[in-house]
Symmetry: C2
Subunit: 222 residues, 2 copies
């Protein structure tokens, strides 16, 4: 029954943008393989040629492209290349999963409410990726609950409409690593779920908020 994930044309196509180790990409691939996510990952775009995420994509037989800022004279040119790649691969939706670049507005415009980001905090707390990072900032602030957030990307960094959030406890003896790992585990569940909800048409944006209807709702898929 299982088909090679990049040749299954009966399901919607998505693209994933990465810069790092690709653990969320791995979670998406796993969700596709186990049919928790009914999608085809048609393309992985990396901003770094050395990203481990590329190895993960290649091992899964997913086409990869590198769009690194150094290759382009401006952020706009870089953005136009990304738009071209996303359109060419037929992606209905793009996912930024540990992608370290801020998009040029042309990308956000071309894929308005079609790009999902995951952020390792309960936004609006610890928005932004500035040093020392959201997880360390959470730890240093002394919060007892942190978590992760999926949201649509808009012009306002980390402030687009929230799709879903998951809370995790912060423990007395947490280090940045143990807290980041606990949040990451939640991310690996939340991201595929959020992508599926968006693909199902269950996420309606009203202003800067979303209404998410449950899978079993009579309104599902409407």
């Amino acid at each position: 029954m299982e088909e090679d994930i990049h040749t299954n044309s009966s399901v919607p196509r998505i693209a994933v943008l990465v810069s790092g180790r690709g653990s969320n990409l791995e979670a998406l691939i796993h969700a596709v393989k186990t049919q928790q996510l009914r999608a085809e990952i048609a393309l992985v775009i990396s901003s770094k040629s050395s990203a481990r995420a590329l190895d993960i994509a290649k091992a899964a037989g997913i086409p990869c492209e590198i769009v690194s800022p150094a290759q382009y004279p401006s952020r706009k040119e870089e953005g136009l290349k990304i738009v071209e790649l996303l359109q060419t691969c037929g992606a209905q939706l793009a996912v930024t999963a540990g992608y370290s670049r801020i998009f040029d507005p042309c990308v956000i415009e071309a894929f308005r409410l079609k790009i999902i980001n995951i952020h390792p905090s309960l936004l609006p707390a610890f928005a932004g990726s500035m040093a020392p990072g959201p997880q360390k900032r959470a730890l240093e602030s002394g919060v007892k609950i942190s978590g992760c957030t999926t949201h649509f990307i808009t012009e306002d960094t980390d402030a687009g409409p929230i799709i879903a959030q998951r809370a995790v406890p912060v423990m007395n003896d947490d280090t940045v690593e143990t807290l980041a790992d606990r949040i990451l585990e939640a991310e690996h569940q939340l991201l595929p779920e959020s992508v599926q909800m968006a693909l199902d048409g269950r996420v309606t944006v009203e202003g800067n908020k979303t209404i998410v209807t449950s899978e079993r709702s009579v309104y599902a898929g409407s």
Copy 2:
């Protein structure tokens, strides 16, 4: 076995500061009555003579004092009166529960890390009580998870060391009222628990963070 709560001298004394309807005061009184909170509420101080919280206190036989800003030439005088009342009643700990005044620094100094506040959000998100209030700001921001936070009061409003937090979901059809009610239900559990933890000596402050040891920890009560 049950004694009148204001004549039980075998347990630590606390004072509660209020300005409103007193639902968290009610939760504290209930927790004392059911012995979930091993404390005596020795005094209720209200900043408003019309606060419904005063009726709740009187019905429970708790001594009440009104310290309203209009009675004092300055915030400092008002603060000195509060310090005097807290000291006279023998309170080990004070709790602000829907108290709408910002303390003069003299109160914070006299009761350093001895005043617990409860805030209806997962701080640092939606800190402050500015209009339209933390619950409405949460709702308008589109978060999917909110909650409440107990923390020690310091000179930085809503930014003192966090004792505990509880998360609650935000629903699609929430109004400010339904969300505020859901958060309030969590507050009514979190506040007595937090006060008990502090009275037990289980909350250690390190910088702007707390280490909270569990009831069964070998370090409990140390």
